[in-house]
Symmetry: C2
Subunit: 798 residues, 2 copies
């Protein structure tokens, strides 16, 4: 049974000539043969001998279920690519079906070009089969080793958002994306259908989602495969798409229907693009998408031991196993493999026969060789304004206040202005709140839905906007990843507490980058830049739910080669940091900086020097010149730095002969030993900063134990006392929250007194006074709802 909702009469319902039909089917059989071969065979790749147990892998791993459907899409996309010289790439949402992608990639020659020992002959095919899902070989998803892949599909849910990221600002590109029906149940995927509301048909390419109703997950039917077709059509139309249905299991009929449907979809896409580009007017498109319903494990064993396999969840992984001690299974496997007729598909040397090879596109039109899928090849360095031009004048440290993120907004504005075709800014409805709104002077927020009169009053909306805002961190992160993976640049600002929403996306992107470091042919791409703002210490009316600096703990778990964390304390250090990050490659840069008014410390020259070192003594805040300090005070992060400075001032006021060293940390990984992170300080340098035996009070932005985790091997670790957020919060004034978590000046000063032996006696009275001041501050906050002005307005007194 094959059905299609195709109604456009101009499109031929049976576009394939009998000859082409037969060839396409043969090409698809070759794919399916290879997919099965990868899962099972370590030898006898062309079945030139009767299949014997010794030809099989000992452990059978891989996922057959989605593979035939993925190959089916791939070979049909190949036809329209050839016929229309259409640039396209392919993303496999259900990355577990990698055999269905690796097979056509090998058949079109790219695999052998990149990996010469996986040549297009029997020997190469044997190696190609053996390496799959095999120790020392390649993974069973569309891993970075897969030519043409920008989407591994190991964790499900991000295929559509990655696809849109790839399509942005690539007007001639078609991004075909297979969406698994299991994947479609995830939250990130479910909202990413709305991405089409952010696709500008004048300047962006097209995304063609193919929702693969494969029917089953590991052990369950999928939801979308078990609702009425009209209900699913309503869902897709409700998301803003025009659905086309291709449903069935008879290959020959399905080939015709798929071909006709792809013709129709491409015609609609091109017509809409042409209309928009001719008129120059971008409107929201109800773009076509395809619902492809095929049996899971299509063309595989229908039954095994009397149990249904094809078209059922049993086809998910290895559909037929136990061959090693079951001759009947071995026979069934051989019959299955031979059903694809490999002898008709491959020549004597083991290469795909020429008439089938001719079906694949050539050169960079091959989806596996499209440079967009190896984005570093296309990456152009950003044209950068001079970040020094945005400097705040800081005549003396610690005397004036400014909003830390605001000048960075101006820098981003001018980066945008200079790179209007390959730079984007992403944020969940918060760029204004985060004080980055200068960006709107050159580019508004993209908006293609309905406009209202009031939008003129500060809506900052435009169909041409290059700032993307949607209340889905998942979708934004996915777009951004897709955008940099295809060779472009971007910046993502988000609330600190809710960056945890994309913890797992961070993990997956970091893993992708770490693997890429080992793959010579993967060209280097732009780093992912995450500005974490609206931080834990300033959640004045959001309270406890918005207090979570723990993303950094997730970040540090990933490969040191790709992870970077910066905590610039003021305007100029933030500018310098952002300038660096925007130009870096292959990293994930996490920048923590609050958006509120903060004390300013460094002029631009000092900021550049400080950021270059990443950590350093602030001489102006230290008075240990020429002597060993009584204690070392460290600030890391904007508010912790201010409180740490205020603590040293309190101490110097009460103990005029105390000698204190003040250190500020911008580059958090400086804390780690040099052997553990490329930014790590040598032990010698670390000791010269932190001393070998003096008490160190480290006032940290995040959870305090993170510092111990980084620094536990350091000489002076036993004297390292870290303060940070420890889940003590509610509706608090900033100072009150600091006091609750003991990162405030009073707690820090008391800490020093407790740890410097010669202050023990004289210090008792001072500690009492400091505690009274804490109580005063808290009482004032509870009475007035604001911090005590004299404490709040504190400036550096020296």
């Amino acid at each position: 049974m094959t059905t299609s909702s195709l109604s456009t009469t101009e499109i031929d319902a049976n576009p394939l000539s009998p000859e082409l039909l037969s060839k396409i089917d043969a090409y698809w059989r070759a794919c399916n043969y290879l997919a099965a071969g990868m899962i099972y065979l370590r030898d006898n790749p062309l079945l030139r001998e009767p299949l014997a147990e010794g030809h099989l892998k000992k452990r059978l791993l891989g996922h057959w279920g989605a593979s035939p459907g993925l190959s089916f899409m791939y070979v049909h996309l190949n036809r329209i690519i050839r016929e229309h010289a259409q640039e396209a790439i392919f993303l496999a949402g259900p990355g577990h079906g990698a055999p269905g992608v690796l097979a056509p990639v090998y058949l079109e020659g790219t695999y052998s070009e990149i990996y010469p020992n996986k040549s297009e002959d029997e020997e190469g095919m044997r190696a190609f089969f053996k390496q799959f899902s095999f120790p020392g070989g390649i993974g069973s998803h569309c891993t970075p080793e897969t030519p043409g892949s920008i989407h591994e599909g190991g964790e499900l849910g991000y295929s559509i958002s990655h696809a849109f990221g790839a399509a942005f600002d690539n007007p001639n590109l078609l991004v075909a994306v297979a969406v698994g029906d299991g994947e479609a149940e995830t939250g990130p995927l479910a909202t990413s259908w709305h991405s089409s509301k952010f696709l500008n048909p004048v300047r962006d390419g097209a995304v063609l989602p193919i929702l693969h109703l494969n029917g089953y997950k590991i052990n369950n039917p999928t939801l979308l495969a078990r609702i009425p077709r009209e209900e699913l059509a309503e869902l897709m139309r409700g998301y803003g798409w025009t659905p086309f249905f291709v449903e069935g299991d008879d290959p020959m009929t399905m080939h015709q229907t798929m071909a006709a449907t792809l013709d129709a979809c491409l015609a609609q896409i091109r017509a809409f693009q042409q209309e928009a580009r001719t008129s120059g007017t971008a409107t929201r498109g109800h773009w076509p998408m395809i619902v492809l319903r095929t049996p899971k494990g299509w063309t595989g064993p229908a039954e095994v031991d009397g149990k249904k396999v094809e078209g059922f969840w049993r086809a998910h992984q290895v559909p037929l196993s136990g061959m090693h001690d079951n001759p009947a299974h071995l026979k069934q496997l051989e019959d299955w493999l031979r059903s694809y007729k490999p002898e008709e598909l491959f020549d004597g040397a083991g290469r795909l026969i020429p008439e089938l090879r001719a079906l694949a596109p050539e050169g960079t039109l091959r989806m596996s060789a499209n440079p967009h899928a190896n984005g570093g090849l296309l990456r152009r360095a950003l044209r950068m304004p001079d970040f020094r031009d945005y400097a705040l004048q800081v005549a003396a440290p610690g005397k004036i206040r400014a909003m830390n993120t605001k000048p960075t907004g101006e820098l981003l504005r001018d980066v945008m202005a200079k790179n209007m075709d390959n730079f984007r800014v992403f944020g969940p409805d918060e760029n204004t709140s985060n004080k980055l709104d200068a960006i709107y002077e050159v580019s508004k927020k993209l908006w293609l839905c309905e406009y209202k009169e009031e939008d003129a009053q500060g809506g900052e909306l435009s169909p041409d906007g290059r700032v993307l805002e949607m209340l889905s961190e998942h979708t934004l992160e996915g777009w951004y990843e897709g955008y940099v993976l295809t060779g472009r640049h971007g910046f993502f600002a988000t609330y600190e507490a809710f960056v945890h929403v994309i913890d797992s996306m961070y993990n997956q992107h970091a893993k992708w980058l770490a693997i890429c470091e080992e793959i010579p042919w993967r060209a280097r791409i732009s780093s992912l830049n995450l500005l974490i703002t609206s931080t834990v210490w300033r959640q004045d009316h959001n309270g406890f739910t918005h207090q979570d600096p723990g993303f950094l703990d997730v970040v540090v778990n990933k490969n040191p080669e790709v992870t970077r964390i910066y905590l610039p304390p003021d305007v100029n250090t933030l500018l310098s940091t952002v300038d660096h990050c925007l130009q870096s490659r292959d990293d994930i840069n996490v920048i923590v900086a609050d958006k509120q008014n903060h004390l300013q410390y460094l002029d631009m020259d000092a900021a550049i020097k400080h950021c270059t070192k990443g950590i350093g003594i602030w001489d102006w805040a230290s008075n240990d010149q020429g002597v060993e300090p009584d204690a070392v005070m460290v600030g890391c992060g904007d508010i912790p730095t201010k409180e740490a400075l205020a603590a040293t001032a309190l101490l110097r006021e009460h103990f005029p002969d105390i000698r204190l060293r003040f250190i500020n940390v911008v580059d958090l990984f400086r804390m780690q030993p040099a052997g553990e992170h490329p930014h790590g300080l040598s032990d010698h340098d670390f000791d010269s900063l932190f001393t070998k035996d003096r008490p160190v009070i480290f006032n940290f932005h995040g959870y305090p134990w993170l510092i111990h985790r980084l620094a536990y091997r350091r000489t002076n670790h036993k004297n390292l006392h870290v303060r940070g957020y420890k889940e003590k919060g509610n509706i608090n004034t900033p100072l009150e929250l600091a006091i609750e978590n003991e990162i405030d000046r009073f707690s820090l000063a008391i800490d020093v007194i407790n740890r410097v032996p010669r202050l023990q006696v004289a210090g008792a009275h001072v500690k009492e006074k400091l505690r009274d001041m804490q109580i005063d501050c808290r009482n004032y906050a509870h009475e007035h709802g604001i911090d005590k002005p004299d404490v709040d307005d504190w400036i550096w007194p020296f």
Copy 2:
């Protein structure tokens, strides 16, 4: 303009008599007055004097925008609750609109009953106003302090899944849930609409979503408010719902439309429930939902300084500010507040007048006093089978293998059988894969969508199933949270790598629980039990993307009062742990245990003793009896324990006089000092286990630095050497992965040799031998695709 899609002719289109209409509007005005009062006033709560600057809070915090809409829903729900004696609770997805919920909660008396100093009079109202979003007061979301709340709404996206969790197994309950149109853009919310496919109308209550098209987020329009109404209707129908539209801005017309629509919805719900319950047949309902389109900040200032506020994003937070130095604004505020006519609404004492009070339901019919929203009140302890009955016979330690999770599946089966009305099992399509499939013997997977013939062949589906499987960790976690928050019990098993998908949900639930610890009237609820399985060390064909044990690093950041982590190494310790967790309260229990065949160590008696201590020396694996050991070997987690044991065996084989102590850690927080976590060991006990000066080789399941973070204050920390996962992975055999990350027996044995001075000389040769064995193992894996059988089949040799 008011429109409604109401078509049911039996329902009165104008159900409110003029008198009732006027009263409902007055009640709503009282809500809006209170909501504005909370944001602005610290004195003069009833405006009995002209408004003066001194009456205002110094810092204005809170969110006005969503508040009037939330109150509007609340007062209309009150009417149907009264008229139909319908048990109901209310969840505010946009929790930022707390003033719109707190207001009706106060007006119906619950607030004053719970917080007597927020009494129903002028003095109480003053205190009620002042505390809102004020230091020392309450937060600006529907925090746990809010009577009737089970959903704070600080982080967006979980309202619908929480609502369904509350409705499961509560046949008479109506869960009304306001869904923010900003929230609706999040991934978790977008997929949670599918929850209705898991609602059994025979045994479950009903969920009535009210999608609030408030129109704007912080600075942007919302997507769903800017697509054509019919497109939105298609989206909702596509999700499986029957949408009703209530749209407009004229209060009187809107009251009638909302009342008529609620009547229609309740009638549909009850008709469908009655049909299902009469017939005893559960089918999937296309349940009603409401799209409520009202202006953001409805009834607030239309314009401020010539700029549109009502019905625009400017109404999001505080719509009118700068009163402190702008008399015109102060006047505008007073006019706005007085527009609600407080003098008509409250009596001389400051209490809502009796004819309005009569509109609220009474007693526990008040949504704010419904015991379901304080679930601990309704919680019944689980009827537990004796977990000892599922024990695996373990005659001697380390001699046999078994799948660690399988007997736990049997235990869960019998817990399910004994608690068929208040226990549920949740999992993303993986309960069979995770070897918990015994559960299906007593309860299948809930399935209400289409059935196919093949489902009879092992589909394990049933419309009455109590196991919930959907490929959305977000939705499952949300359901589960809603289920325990309303007083029931559950169990959630999920893949280790992808539990990061719900990091932020974990964070929010932990914060909720931590606050509840401080609220005496919140009754204790069941703990959330998360079984983390399919772990990092056994991702044979999934590879690198599936290797991430970092959830534990997220877990430890939260309040020690509510966090628990267990790593039982075998069948019997897992059974004992699960038994404990299922009966615990107010915690989040994270249990890490792999599903594959593992070596078994402890018989049930020993397992119980070991789990009770949480950490302990395994005497049978130690040979330091009566002497100080040369080194301490620690295993924490199943595979790390096996490798650590194998390392001690290798060492004892090569160095017959070596003295080793073997420790196993089940309860991870034992590692932390007693003052930092309730499960923490005292330093004395810790030192007696780990010694004060011997090398400790700690083989850990997760990222190694987590152990340093927990133990950095311990006496012997300088000698603590931790091995764990460090992002070295690909397609690996289990042993090869262990070797890559140095948690394998050979690396551990080498570690010991390196750190025990008296082994230095003799050890050089042994180390070389061990390194050769590592290389052999890796070569074997690369050649055969499996681990060397003699190493893989290793058993404890003593």
